[in-house]
């Protein structure tokens, strides 16, 4: 039942997104730019609000609570009030709502894409560069009361994802990527070996072969009525990753929308072809890949490494009844690739941002708590709950974490092998990860990427004609629905120089200038006259 809620929430992100898309300057108008105070006043009581997200995982909730208790013990004058969410989109919606009323939390778990929208308000989100580099209270600062990592110990690729418009606006909290979870026995039964790196061609070929049926209509491979060989959870990632692997356009750093190109269309045609045969489906159409995978009704299930505890015969978490789960070996591989020599996979995962407040002491207290969340105690504990990896080398290289990795398979809970394999996948491929450009509107573009695949798959399943005309119409409908032409225009407008002043402004400024000249001339004449009289 864990994941059901997210289905009802899965599209809610866009609600707030559109409301906020072009609403620059909707911020807390009375908040000035944050200026670092001289120090943290120990006699002052601070109460800060922390909006956290967990994966509907009670252990993660407990880790947050423990982190707060430990932090409050170090800083008795700071009280942290946590509000728990199970969906990033709901946090995003609530932050947007609270920006306009000046009631944002102090610290929240969020995505850089979302911060791009938050920061369209004036001084809403605190740029962290000065805080990070502060010798007293920055990362590894001498006044910090805990074993804080230094800036150089934050994995550079992950920290770089937090840079927006040249400034660091968040700290990475956890990182994950996508993995392809493979039913090894099914692949072998079809006459193949699971390669170290899957190609798209391999996955399509095996998937098609898995559709052979018995005379009674059941599938030869599993003897059941249901077999969806290849299921992708996040089709926005699927579209983005396919394009990245082919060096095709998606968007650029200037916020230009490049997704509606011929490569995208060719990819969609392939997806349509395999959807039509029944070889491929998506989470939104059929359900969670893990449920089909664990029931022996799927061979290749692509989902986040942060969902690894739900994948496989011995998965500690499951949404299906235990008597539906079949016995098989789960292999964890990178998502399918076009070029095995240059694998590319998405980097994802939550970050931590600090909101600005009128009291700079409160902001400093918030920063200290944010910083506490990337200490080894929190990083290692939280990353072990799922296939996340810690965001600092300090944590990754620690004896404690290395021991955790080395004990893979000792049990099916803390040391569940699929979970640890998933974490290792990212650890081994950090340099092969990528992120997409972040700008105000990048969330809508991501939704559009998802829509292209979902619409193609749905229309194919519904026996509608999926041809060039269909794709042309799909492109136009998607641009319109997600207002992508407006995003591009708005973003460009915000970046370009303002151009020549309107005539009215020229006249007004000339009048002001002229008036001052007359005033100065008047007093100059009076001064000269008086001087002469004297």
């Amino acid at each position: 039942m864990k994941k059901l809620l997210s289905r009802f929430l899965s599209l809610s992100l866009a609600a707030a997104c559109l409301t906020s898309l072009f609403t620059g300057c909707h911020g807390t108008k009375d908040t000035n730019e944050f200026v670092m105070p001289d120090g943290l006043d120990a006699s002052e009581k601070y109460e800060i609000v922390f909006w956290a997200k967990n994966d509907t995982n009670i252990t993660q909730t407990q880790i947050y609570n423990q982190a707060i208790a430990d932090f409050e013990a170090l800083y008795p004058n700071i009280k942290v009030n946590i509000r728990l969410y199970t969906d990033y989109n709901k946090i995003y919606n609530d932050v947007i709502t609270n920006i306009s009323t000046g009631t944002t939390p102090n610290v929240c778990i969020t995505y850089p894409d979302h911060i791009a929208t938050y920061k369209t308000g004036d001084n809403v989100v605190v740029p962290l560069d000065n805080l990070i580099n502060d010798k007293d209270y920055g990362l590894g600062g001498k006044e910090v009361k805990f074993d804080s990592p230094s800036k150089s110990e934050v994995i550079p690729e992950f920290l770089n994802e937090c840079i927006l418009d040249g400034q660091i606006y968040c700290l990475p909290y956890m990182r994950s990527t996508e993995a392809c979870y493979v039913n090894k026995e099914y692949v072998e039964a079809l006459g193949y070996e699971v390669p170290d790196i899957l190609t798209w061609d391999f996955v399509w070929e095996v998937s098609e072969k898995a559709l052979a049926k018995n005379p009674d209509g059941t599938y030869v491979l599993n003897g059941k009525d249901v077999m969806i060989p290849f299921i992708y959870k996040s089709t926005d990632n699927m579209c983005i990753t396919m394009l990245k692997q082919q060096d095709a356009g998606y968007s650029d750093d200037d916020g230009n929308i490049l997704i509606f190109n011929d490569t995208t269309k060719e990819d969609l045609k392939v997806i349509a072809e395999h959807t039509g045969t029944g070889a491929f489906s998506t989470f939104k159409i059929s359900g969670y890949p893990g449920n089909f995978f664990n029931a022996g009704e799927c061979i290749f299930a692509v989902d986040s490494t942060a969902g690894a505890t739900w994948m496989g015969t011995n998965a500690p978490l499951s949404d299906i009844h235990e008597n539906q789960i079949v016995d098989f070996t789960t292999e964890v591989r990178p998502v399918p690739q076009f070029n095995v020599d240059e694998p590319k996979m998405i980097s994802q995962g939550p970050s931590i941002c600090v909101f600005n407040k009128p009291d700079s002491g409160e902001v400093l207290a918030s920063w200290l708590f944010a910083q506490y969340l990337i200490t080894n105690d929190v990083q290692i504990a939280y990353s072990c709950t799922e296939g996340y990896v810690p965001v600092t080398s300090k944590a990754q290289d620690s004896i404690e974490y290395q021991e955790y990795l080395s004990r893979s398979g000792e049990d099916n809970s803390q040391y569940y092998s699929v979970k640890i394999d998933a974490a290792k996948l990212l650890l081994d491929n950090t340099s092969n990860t990528f992120v997409t450009p972040v700008f105000n509107g990048s969330t809508s573009l991501r939704n559009a990427a998802m829509q292209l695949i979902e619409s193609t798959a749905k229309s194919t399943r519904r026996k509608q004609v999926v041809d060039d005309a269909f794709f042309e119409q799909l492109y136009e409908d998607t641009k319109s629905l997600y207002r992508l032409d407006q995003i591009a225009a708005a973003d460009k407008d915000s970046r370009k120089t303002l151009g020549p002043l309107p005539t009215g402004s020229v006249v007004l400024l000339s009048a002001i200038g002229g008036a001052w000249i007359v005033i100065i001339a008047y007093f100059a004449v009076r001064f000269a006259t008086k001087k002469r009289a004297d």
């Binding site: 864990k2 599209l11 609600a15």
Partner: protein, 275 residues
């Protein structure tokens, strides 16, 4: 200061004020955006009206299926039914398009309408008992059979279903034939939801907080089942939500709700009566 100077100064002051007003980017931007928002909203409303008219036009020639025909239709096929609203989840907006999910039913069977586009005004009109004609695609998501990508028109007519007691069918294969119906359960016993003996949990494993879905276990005939109070159907301020928060292990309860499906039966409970 003589008259000339006063005129010059006042001109300068007015000009400066005017300049300040022009220069106050926040005020100017806000005003402009508000106007733009209104314009966009009006445009969206017009588009929605247009969409509704299109929906009516589209539905005009559609042949209405009986429940039996609907039940027999394959997944992914186009379906058109006449049905009556029995309950609705919260309305929300996705990329400027309003959506809500509806539990609907006629005299012969039930239809769950997932994320059906509707304006907020239409949502308000879709009260319990309202008759609608719906066209969409029959879909199946994790065992839940539903109508997706639906269009609808409101029609004359009203029907409010009475709950069908399915307590005795909970353990049987026959239960799935009641999927999505308004049902009741009688004389069930509240069981502990976790090792600590909690009578209910916020989220399925207790990781949530007030406002999240409630999960609780109830037993009958030696079998224990997990029931849900779906927060988007009945939120924290509703009677059923509060009633479940007040449950104690061992309580005998009667319940009503909708027979939702997620990898097995997952009733969305709308009423709990402690005996």
């Amino acid at each position: 200061m003589n008259k000339t100077a006063k005129i010059i100064m006042s001109t300068t002051l007015m000009a400066s004020m005017a300049f300040s007003a022009f220069g106050c980017s926040t005020a100017e931007t806000t005003a402009t955006e508000t106007t733009a928002d209104v314009a966009e909203t009006t445009e969206a409303a017009a588009e929605t009206t247009e969409a509704s008219e299109t929906a009516a036009d589209l539905l005009e020639g559609k042949t209405v299926m009986t429940y039996a025909e609907y039940a027999a239709a394959p997944v992914d096929s186009e379906v058109t039914v006449e049905t009556y609203i029995q309950a609705k989840q919260g309305w929300w907006e996705n990329e400027g398009v309003g959506n809500a999910s509806f539990y609907t039913q006629d005299e012969n069977g039930a239809y769950f309408l997932y994320n059906m586009p509707c304006t907020e005004d239409e949502y308000a009109k879709l009260t319990v008992g309202t008759k609608i004609k719906v066209n969409g695609f029959k879909s199946e998501w994790s065992g839940e059979v539903e109508i997706t990508d639906a269009k609808f028109v409101i029609e004359e007519g009203n029907y409010v279903a009475t709950a069908t007691d399915v307590t005795d069918k909970l353990a049987s294969d026959e239960l799935i034939s009641y999927q999505n119906l308004f049902v009741s359960f009688t004389d069930m016993t509240v069981e502990a939801s976790n090792d600590a003996g909690a009578a209910f949990l916020y989220s399925y494993d207790g990781s949530g907080s007030q406002g999240d879905d409630l999960y609780f276990k109830v037993s009958v005939n030696g079998q224990t089942y997990t029931f849900t109070v779906e927060s988007y159907l009945t939120g924290a301020d509703t009677e059923v939500y509060k009633a479940v928060e007040g449950l104690k292990v061992g309580d005998k309860v009667d319940m009503e709700g909708f027979l939702y499906w997620y990898e097995g039966v997952n009733p969305h409970i709308t009423k709990v009566t402690v005996k």
